[in-house]
């Protein structure tokens, strides 16, 4: 029988996934494709916000959407109605997407000839934060009914995101939601976080968010910094 030996590994459980994610980003840079990873709780209004974002940017960019869900294709069907390319990714019971699954999705959707691909991650504030998908930017949505204390309860996701979209601000008068508190708690976790309060229903604040996204896509794809008006 072979001799038993101990092999030291001493690296993070996520190290292989992180390396794979870096490879994906290199490929995206070559193909001039911007990948946005969008995360949130279930019911935060992700799909609605996405549809409004697509409407604002579809004349500018070739857009694709990858909808990740444990099952069903309800969301991909809704997105397909906006006229952009969309696919449904099923994680088969898993609570997050990792770099490997994202790469398969990018191939399937034909990302190399798209300018902007949005990955709608599984509705969950815990697991997706641990797995780098290879996205260029990470965004999360926090809706008003969820409450302003979420950055205290789920700190990790706030540290990995570049953008926090506070959605459904049109219903703020009916909830005990303190916009200043959420800003304070979120910036405490991540001082570099960009925060956009929006209502996809009334359109309030949507311009600032889509402008930000437009600038990011142009910078990544062309290396051009556009002046914001």
């Amino acid at each position: 029988m072979d001799k038993v030996r101990i092999i030291e590994i001493r690296e993070s459980v996520f190290a292989d996934n992180d390396r794979e994610a870096d490879r994906i980003r290199e490929g995206l840079k070559r193909d001039k494709t911007f990948l946005l990873n969008l995360m949130s709780s279930p019911g935060s209004g992700k799909t609605t916000l996405l549809m409004r974002t697509i409407e604002a940017l579809k004349n500018e960019f070739d857009i694709g959407v990858m909808e990740a869900d444990i099952d069903s294709s309800v969301d991909a069907e809704k997105i397909a109605k906006t006229g952009v390319r969309s696919i449904q990714l099923h994680t088969g019971g898993m609570c997050h997407l990792d770099a490997g699954m994202t790469e398969q999705g990018l191939k399937e959707i034909g990302a190399s000839d798209l300018d902007l691909v949005i990955l709608e991650n599984i509705g969950n504030l815990i697991c997706p934060a641990d797995f780098d998908t290879g996205a260029v930017r990470n965004a999360m949505i926090l809706s008003v009914p969820e409450g302003h204390d979420k950055p205290l309860k789920y700190p990790h996701i706030f540290t990995v995101c570049d953008v926090l979209i506070i959605s459904k601000i049109d219903v703020m008068p009916y909830f005990d939601f303190d916009l200043e508190k959420v800003r304070e708690y979120a910036l405490m976790r991540n001082p570099k976080l960009e925060i956009f309060p929006v209502s996809a229903r009334t359109g309030e604040g949507m311009g600032a968010w889509t402008e930000w996204l437009k600038t990011q896509v142009n910078e990544w794809n062309n290396g051009v910094k556009l002046l914001t008006e």
Partner: protein, 114 residues
């Protein structure tokens, strides 16, 4: 389920290491797990015992978990304290300018194999 995804990633890494080192069977995998890493040891082991049955290399391998205690540092008084016991507010001076210095780890430490 969060733990199952983590277990799949550990298995994938160990299989890569196994291939690189020409291993034929892995009998033990040691994981260093921070107290506030968000993964529950008992759940990890349950998922592990189910998942390794599907791996040629890891069939019957044991998952050993070593806990790393969570420690928070207070910026106001420069003292450290136990995170799990006191949370975000410093028990020494009452400040909330605190951050975690260790306890969030999820590291693959070593494997025993032949």
């Amino acid at each position: 389920m969060h733990e199952l995804g983590i277990v799949f990633h550990i298995i994938k890494t160990v299989e890569r290491v196994g291939e690189e080192n020409g291993l034929s069977a892995v009998s033990k995998v040691t994981l260093e797990l921070g107290e506030v890493s968000g993964a529950i040891p008992r759940e990890l082991i349950d998922c592990w015992n189910w998942a390794v049955r599907k791996s040629e290399l890891l069939k019957g391998a044991e998952l050993v978990i070593e806990t790393i205690p969570a420690v928070t540092l207070c910026e106001s008084c420069s003292q450290t304290y136990e995170t799990v016991r006191y949370g975000r507010i410093c028990p020494n001076c009452g400040s909330d300018l605190t951050y975690l210095v260790q306890g969030n780890e999820m590291n693959l430490k070593e494997i025993q194999a032949c």
